[in-house]
């Protein structure tokens, strides 16, 4: 990619508390998988990384989904509804 592209990341629950915001624009220097982006924002080092599912542009996707810029990304912590 010649120009960094942005993704809009939305946070909920424990991730929202951890990140201190419910939404953020993140610049991608190159195409990145959803999983890699998550690891970058919530590093595994030191333990305590929450297992998540991924949603891109409203649809659930695997962690291997490649982000190229312009997407809305949501990390889904373990569910607690009902």
């Amino acid at each position: 990619m010649d120009v960094p592209q942005n993704v809009r990341v939305r946070y909920f629950a424990a991730l929202r508390e951890s990140r201190g915001t419910n939404e953020e624009v993140i610049a991608l220097a190159e195409p990145t998988t959803a999983r890699s982006l998550y690891d970058r924002l919530f590093p595994k080092a030191g333990g305590g990384q929450i297992p998540v599912g991924f949603a891109v542009n409203g649809e659930q996707v695997p962690g291997s989904h490649l982000l190229v810029g312009g997407e809305e990304v949501i990390f889904l912590p373990p569910l607690g509804g009902g």
Binding site: A13, P62, L76, G82
Partner: protein, 152 residues
């Protein structure tokens, strides 16, 4: 309140759930069974005192997932009418956090569908729960709602 499926309703609300209203949405003359399930805040978990629960949703994802549950239920049990309402924000002990109101021709489908809806909701709907205990708070996962750990 949003329509879902053929005869269903879904909503996320921030105030006390109106159970009679939800029941009225699904009751009709052809129904031989009307079943209303309420999930309520329990005062304890594993011998620890719960003060209250808080719920948070990814709204678009949750409404879509609830709608899909309605659609699948209507396919499995033709003639079913179902309304699902989930409360967001603080839900005190004894108060209702979720209502699944439904009706069917007979009790067989009503009981089966009621179980299916709440079990699937707990596994699939992007809503999160924070338990506020006497000595702290934490986000609490449903056993059925943990994402599969993928290959790295």
């Amino acid at each position: 309140m949003a329509k879902a499926g053929q005869c269903g309703w879904v909503e996320l609300v921030s105030e006390t759930l109106d159970v009679p209203r939800l029941r009225a949405l699904v009751a009709h003359p052809s129904a031989g069974a009307v079943l209303v399930f309420e999930g309520t805040t329990r005062d304890s978990f594993e011998n620890e005192c719960v003060r209250w629960l808080e719920y948070e949703a990814w709204p678009e994802g949750a409404l879509r997932a609830l709608g899909e549950i309605i659609e699948e239920s209507e396919q499995r049990w033709p003639g079913l009418r179902c309304a699902i309402a989930h409360r967001l924000g603080r839900v005190d002990v004894g108060e209702t956090s979720v209502v699944v109101a439904l009706s069917g021709g007979h009790r067989e489908e009503a009981y089966a569908a009621s179980r299916f809806v709440i079990d699937t909701l707990k596994a699939k709907v992007p809503i999160w729960k924070r338990e506020v205990m006497a000595n702290g708070a934490h986000w609490k996962a449903n056993p059925e709602g943990t994402p599969r750990m993928e290959e790295q």
